[in-house]
């Protein structure tokens, strides 16, 4: 179980790093500014996702480094609401652009939904295996 927790901790770290780096590169929001020179709202969704991504990175890295199963489970459990919040940021908590054929809708949102969904599932498995390994200890 400990080995499984470590493996899923590494997967979590990779996914968290992907979301953090991805929202600034491959699936970033639209790079347009409005007529008044202000960023469009999808830019702020991108910034919020970047901040949550860093938090997820730190938490997932700790699930790999820390040996205690219970602490690992606690960290992983904390990552689930963070990942769900990240899924809700594009277009639910922060509005995206008006045209849904724009990059923030067609690339950023689905990518964030998929990766954060995977993070939530992996965090659930990590938490479960972390608790199990603690019981055995």
């Amino acid at each position: 179980m400990k080995k499984l927790t470590t493996v899923f901790g590494i997967i979590l770290t990779a996914l968290s790093a992907l979301i953090t780096a991805g929202v600034k590169t491959v699936f970033c929001a639209c790079d347009h500014k409005s007529e008044s020179g202000m960023w469009m709202s999808c830019h702020w969704a991108e910034q919020a996702l970047f901040a949550i991504g860093i938090t997820l990175c730190c938490a997932s890295l700790m699930t790999v480094i820390i040996r205690s199963g219970k602490v690992r489970a606690g960290l992983a459990l904390g990552m689930i609401p963070a990942a769900v919040s990240a899924m809700l940021i594009p277009n639910v908590l922060i509005n995206l652009c008006m045209k849904t054929d724009m990059r923030c809708h067609t690339v950023m949102r689905p990518a964030v939904m998929l990766i954060c969904g995977a993070i939530a599932v992996c965090a659930g498995i990590t938490a479960f295996s972390g608790l199990k390994s603690k019981e055995k200890a």
Binding site: E35, M40, C97, M102, M113
Partner: protein, 399 residues
């Protein structure tokens, strides 16, 4: 069931099983992605054809020199051009005209949150025969002044207020998805659009500085009467009106149709190539796997397993690999193709409309069935060979 010999064999060689499952998943993924892309492109083209509804479109001659002219007229891409309203009246009064209605185009420079332009199309509710039948599917009331109907891809909902050039508009309805740029278009009656145009001129945001919105239109849509053919009317308009150009909508759509044919052929070739390669690799993998397990099968024969039992074991292994691989492939395919449909549409720059859930389920089942069948057929060759082998020769080590 999972404790039976075929499953034990699969678990005993995890790397080989993983490679076979990956190959089958790749086959299912390719088949689903390919067929879904072609099907969506066909749905998009059908949707575009349904949306047309006019036989002839008449536009100012200069407009035909614009690169994006066909996309503006056919698919609602952003852009605008104007011609004298008197010309429109002259064209509409020509012989052989059954239905005639003019439209007014305007591209917004800012809508709500974005600096991205939105195409605004104004139509005359009294004469219109192309927009209203489509709008009626979502909104069965006359559009009042300041009311707008928005395309499906606009992030605005019924009851929302949007501002175009400072003119406050109320979203009266949201249209069904078409898979074309019409999904990001705003429709309003002529008076509302002319009010927006006046506002754009007042703010200096319209490149046509000297137009009077009351005296111009953007295009004329025509359906011919039974008396004359579309070609006769088209030639008549083009000969007698130098400043306009009449175009058959069917001819305009043939370009999109040709592109779709090209993309379909490329996708077809790619699917065939991946399938051929995957089939050959699966055949080799099963043959090699059976060859290296000859002694194992010979021992099974010695302890009483029939030739049929050995063949069934190989077939059961391939079936298990096929089912698992295709489930993974279908799952991955749906996870890529459905959420990223918008990105694929942008990439292909063609009308792209995902089929309904029922058709997607049929395509997924077809992809799964085809990949399982390929795996089973590839294994059938090995199963036949194993059922024909000479146990004595194998055990003596002569082969």
């Amino acid at each position: 069931m999972f404790r039976s010999l075929p499953f034990k064999n699969l678990r005993g060689k995890p790397l080989r099983t993983a490679v076979l499952v990956t190959l089958t998943a790749l086959l299912a993924l390719t088949f689903l992605a390919g067929t879904l892309t072609v099907s969506s492109l066909r749905s998009g083209l059908a949707s575009l054809e349904n949306r047309l509804g006019a036989e002839i479109i008449v536009v100012p001659y200069e407009a035909t020199t614009k690169k994006s002219f066909e996309n503006i007229v056919l698919q609602g891409s952003t852009g605008y051009f104007y011609m004298d309203k008197q010309l429109a009246d002259k064209v509409c009064s020509a012989e052989g005209i059954g239905q005639c209605s003019s439209q007014f185009y305007l591209a917004s420079t800012s809508a709500g949150c974005c600096s991205i332009p939105v195409q605004i199309i104004g139509f005359d509710p009294d004469t219109d025969f192309t927009v209203q039948p489509w709008i009626r599917r979502s909104f069965d009331e006359p559009l009042g002044d300041g009311d707008i109907v928005v395309g499906n891809d606009l992030n605005a909902f019924v009851g929302d207020s949007l501002q175009f050039y400072g003119v406050e508009c109320r979203v009266a309805a949201k249209l069904d998805k078409t898979g074309t740029s019409f999904d990001t278009t705003v429709f309003a009656n002529m008076d509302t659009v002319k009010r927006m145009t006046r506002a754009s001129l007042d703010k200096g945001l319209n490149s046509f500085k000297n137009i009077d919105p009351e005296k111009v239109v953007s295009c004329i849509l025509i359906n011919t009467s039974d008396e004359r053919s579309a070609d006769e009317v088209l030639n008549d308009i083009n000969i007698h009106n130098k400043k306009v150009k009449a175009v058959r909508t069917k001819e305009m759509i043939s370009g999109v149709s040709d592109s779709l044919g090209g993309v379909s052929r490329i996708v077809g070739i790619l699917i065939a190539a991946v399938w051929l390669l995957g089939g050959v690799i699966l055949l080799l993998a099963f043959t090699m796997s059976v060859n290296e397990r000859k002694k194992e099968f010979a021992v099974l024969r010695v302890i009483g397993a029939s030739r049929g039992k050995l063949a069934r074991t190989v077939m059961a292994e391939s079936l298990a690999v096929g089912v698992l691989g295709s489930l993974i492939g279908i799952g991955l395919g749906l996870l890529i193709m459905l959420p990223f449909a918008g990105a694929i549409e942008e990439l292909l720059a063609m009308p792209y409309l995902l089929p309904d859930a029922g058709k997607i389920a049929v395509l997924a089942a077809g992809a799964a069935g085809a990949s399982i069948l390929t795996g089973v057929l590839a294994a059938a060759v090995s199963a036949y060979r194993i059922s024909r082998m000479d146990t004595g020769v194998i055990l003596r080590g002569d082969n």
